[in-house]
Subunit: 380 residues, 4 copies
């Protein structure tokens, strides 16, 4: 049994998701490399030892630089705030280590570009955790498009709507640009840009128009010290064009009442169409326009059949549904496959791939700010 | 243009539905016979003239016996309370007139049998208004089963659930056996028995067990004269077997909170399955188990495509949905076709056919009352 | 009984819808004025007499100018192609007649403005047939917003998606700008602009970005004479802002495979949210964010309860659903109420109101064409 | 930190589910006792060491009798075939150990009764893994009924439908009575009987009628040795009455094409109603008939809100849905609470409770076999 030591850099919500994935993957899958949960980094005040004890990391560290250079580490897994992605990733790359990084790839486009170049120069394998690609339904959507089931794609519409950010939520770090980079845009649009690029197999070539809005402009400081200014967006909408000729709309929002986590896309092609809603993540909606017209309809595929749907043979019997964290475990499995020189189940995003998503995020912000169409050619 | 004079015997809710159908059918369809709304019968206190004026009947009458014998009348259409179906139908048959009668065919099995025999002896064409057969989705279900799309049918489950009859509803005639014959059973189970017989193309051979329940045993008299006893069922459930080997369950209810008019069936065969819910009457759910497993799913067929779905070419463009009353107009069209010697779009129930449904209703009541399985052989 | 003579100017699909409405309204409602289907106009080659015979118009005419001036006519109802709306409406107004006109109000913004001014000067009552406002679910949405159930509205997203226009459809008049004015935009976006203005009670103040696309640029001529150029859009998407601060997206499409008639909106406010899909037109989705959190959810309201939902007391019992054409009949009822000096059930759009929708259509076209944001101030 | 050593007796599908639960519970919850995965038993030919290595059990054993008596063991967890539940449980009880046992409690009613009596005599804590009670949506349903939200319960309908058992499936042990006890009945009806008892808080008092059917009477032997007889049911349907006056229907099936794991109930009360479908296990449908009529509807509650829905505060943010195995982890948490003397989140079934479900299973079999109503009084 070949093993690989993983170092987790960061904790928080994504730290939990990744820890769970590294702990579960070898129980449910037979990866070609067995991950060893070697060490987790956290700031001293975060108490990384408690985190390590809870999740089964063998060691805790408060020195990430030492950790990423350690010869014991085979994979550096980054779940820090966005602004730290670049320094950690570059240090790991400098040490010749494969890196898997949470999305979005970086806090700024410049950082992202540097990460891509560093990885390319060092010929190091990189991965970005766009976990929703690993929902079996989304993987199946990718496969169906690749098989030509949709024909020419003409329409893409995607929204990622949440509603947790009402007036009563205080001025968390998430509402300050300094820490968060952006609001709903980087958090949510990043996912639907990646998913629709992944499923269509096409690139976005232009952002034709965009709106960025902050509905709640001031929030109470968590420490009770009066009100502070919100410096990130609450919602970003934009229109776009795909390389294959499709027109598209995207929207991310945090006050879209009634939508707790509606990560949704619909794609219409000349021969068929697909719909996905993460809140029913085990299901893919497929309209096959090549069937006899009398029986055409939106078909709800329960993507849980071991022999026929990606990943699920490793989980439970048919229609014993899986949940949010399984996407991460599925991704951990594919990372291990790629590290062992095997093909992933469906394509994994590397830094170069995630950089394309970052360019679209940037183009949308420029478009919203300058109130004009922005070609992706401009944003490099 | 060949015309046929229709006499409507009765008014009420079904009188409105039928009047609308006779008025609309030649506007939307090209029937081989054009119906003329010749006369409507009502009790003097019902004011049949006002009804005639409202709906466009040329004449009003308070003498149904005279009316059904009138040489001007080409079709006698019965929408009276159930106990009057038999006398009116038999008079019309005696006069050699085709008869179309609301469901259930009669207030008692004996009446129904006499009606069947009279019609047979007189060689008169008869029809029973099981309107739900004429929902395009239900007609399509019938066609798909006939084409063999389901393979061997193994399961039938049907419910017709309403919730209008809470404690505050007074002691209407519908709650008294003397006037209503039965409660939810004859009103609602009649429909789902007919629909499942129609769609499967099979007969019910046994009622294996049944429950009849009256939850609200007393209700306030409408005239304020204290409380009176409810003498009909609120709910009837039964298990049954079909001639082709399927097992089945049926349920009718009037206090099934949350269900205003859930007229629903699901049928599972070896090769596919179907679901229908009247509250979304334009849709048929179809599961095609012969498709590749990866894309199998419940498909929601919007049954509104003119070229491919029954009846709808005569209505509106695709997905401009139709409603409750359209089933009656569709049925009026088919009655006119049959009267002109043509084939109906899908089979129309005649008295003989409706009598089979009546036998099942009766068997279920016997089973509930005697607490034992009842073979349909017993009930003739 | 007071009556009013209606003249229908035009035939076609909308001619059928309106004829049905005028024929049905007094059967199901008790309008304060009873409409008499006095005369229908059609071009000689359209055979207006046959249309009149089919639908029950008392007279047929091939001279609309004479007809709209006829002293017998009390209401001029226009269902011609869009480019004729203005001349007919202006002639009717000149004759002092109330006018009800199909949507969009006119083939051009200039025409629309002239119609508004003419009506204002003549103090004539006008109506535009935005039929979807009269779906009980949409009327209820309007009422709930008006009662404050949504609080501050922050998000509007609306699409009207169809899929009938694939490569095999020939070069109908609908694909030529000369006859049709625009493609999906005027046909479909007009509806969702009107509906969201109606439901929110707000105006659109800016189109921030827009895309107009024609996917299929050439089509076979119906007469077989080779290929001809498509000169209208297949799809138009745009982003917008509402006067109350909401951000919005709109999309109309004719090749959105899988969507036959998906006329859809979602509106999110601070206190609740609403969703409507015409393909399930009897249902309104409502999320009440003021309920205890444990039981909050999207509630599917079957808008068919006579005592509590607009219009439906005049139709059928609860959950005996209504269909597409009922919106027109409901509108005919309200037109008759307004003509008799009564209040409509919910606000009816007049020319002035419909002109606001037309301005938004225009702004979106300018935005798509000039690739820049367009303030509604610019478009008058 | 107080720990408890768990011994898992058995492997298989349920062995995986339980192993996962014991491994995950302390990572996501803060149980008052921390489980130690001490040892797993398997037959030598099952290779329990490999199972132990995969799932993290510290020891493997092929001698369950020694294991359950071991003083190191604090909880005996049984996942063997049903016929072994009784001997293992009785041995554990004899050793004074708490026992948690997979459902159904036993292979026969007599066994179940002995287990209940042994546990009672020894005053040992017992638990049965009816995992679906621990879906947050089902737990919430229980709480809503308990709070009186449904008023008097009048209707229960429950089905558990699967479709894996077509003609091509060979004669697995599951099709032989000798090994499996029963077919769909014990496997699936056991769950829906338990769930509806749990949610309503009522007992079933009578099985009024029942059908047991085996559609596929012979299957190919897995070893290729010709055909063998199927000796268990494929489907069992029955009608029943609850102690509070509700009427009910139940159905379990394995060839209900289109339903991979439809574990479903609907419960209608005088004041409200509930629906649950395991294939969308994060959602509970609730109809509140006490709301103003205009806004009544089936509300889809996404049961993932930490502060308000059972268990989920320990998992992921709102609408980051959970899956099948989480029910087991939730149950493990509650078992640990009860073992530590605390209250479970919602009631846990012990042997006594599970015995009531077993009695209903038995009554249904007697009713199907003897074709008559069976009072629960008869079955003890």
């Amino acid at each position: 049994m070949t093993t690989i030591n993983v170092a987790l850099i960061g904790q928080g919500f994504m730290g939990r998701s990744h820890s769970n994935a590294w702990g579960q993957v070898a129980k449910f899958f037979k990866p070609p490399l067995t991950p060893v949960m070697h060490a987790v980094f956290g700031q001293a005040e975060e108490n990384p030892q408690a985190f390590a004890d809870n999740w089964g990391w063998q060691n805790a560290s408060t020195d990430w630089q030492q950790l990423v250079r350690s010869p014991e580490i085979g994979l550096v897994d980054i779940v820090t705030p966005n602004y730290m992605h670049a320094p950690v990733a570059k240090a790991a790359i400098a040490a010749g280590k494969p890196v898997s990084c949470e999305k979005p790839i970086a806090g700024s486009l410049a950082d992202a570009r540097e990460m891509v170049e560093a990885a390319k120069a060092a010929k190091v394998k990189t991965f970005v955790w766009f976990n929703y690609r690993r929902c079996p339904a989304v993987s199946l959507a990718h496969q169906l498009v690749k098989e030509g089931k949709l024909g020419t794609v003409r329409h893409v519409r995607a929204v990622y709507l949440q509603d947790w950010a009402d007036e009563n939520v205080p001025l968390l770090w998430r509402f300050e640009k300094e820490w968060a980079g952006s609001g709903a845009h980087g958090d949510l649009n990043a996912h639907i840009i990646d998913m629709t690029r992944f499923v269509t197999g096409q690139e976005i070539t232009e952002v034709t128009g965009a709106i960025a809005e902050t509905f709640i402009k001031e929030r109470t400081r968590p420490d009770g010290g009066g009100k502070g200014k919100v410096t990130v967006d609450d919602a970003v909408l934009f229109l776009a064009r795909f390389s294959g000729g499709a027109v598209a709309s995207f929207e991310a929002a945090r006050q879209a009442t009634g939508n707790q986590n509606r990560n949704y896309f619909e794609i219409n092609g000349a021969k068929g169409a697909l719909k996905f809603d993460f809140e029913r993540m085990n299901e893919l909606q497929y309209y096959d326009a090549t069937l006899p017209r009398a029986v055409q309809g939106w078909s709800t595929i329960m993507c849980t059949h071991g022999g026929d749907h990606p990943y699920v043979a490793n989980w439970w019997p048919d229609a014993h549904i899986i949940g949010y964290e399984h996407g991460f475990t599925n991704e951990a499995y594919d990372i291990l496959r790629v590290l062992a020189g095997q093909q992933p189940t469906v394509p994994l995003p590397d830094f170069e791939d995630a950089y394309q998503t970052q360019r679209v995020l940037e183009a949308a912000l420029v478009s919203a700010d300058q109130r004009r169409p922005v070609s992706l050619e401009e944003v490099k």
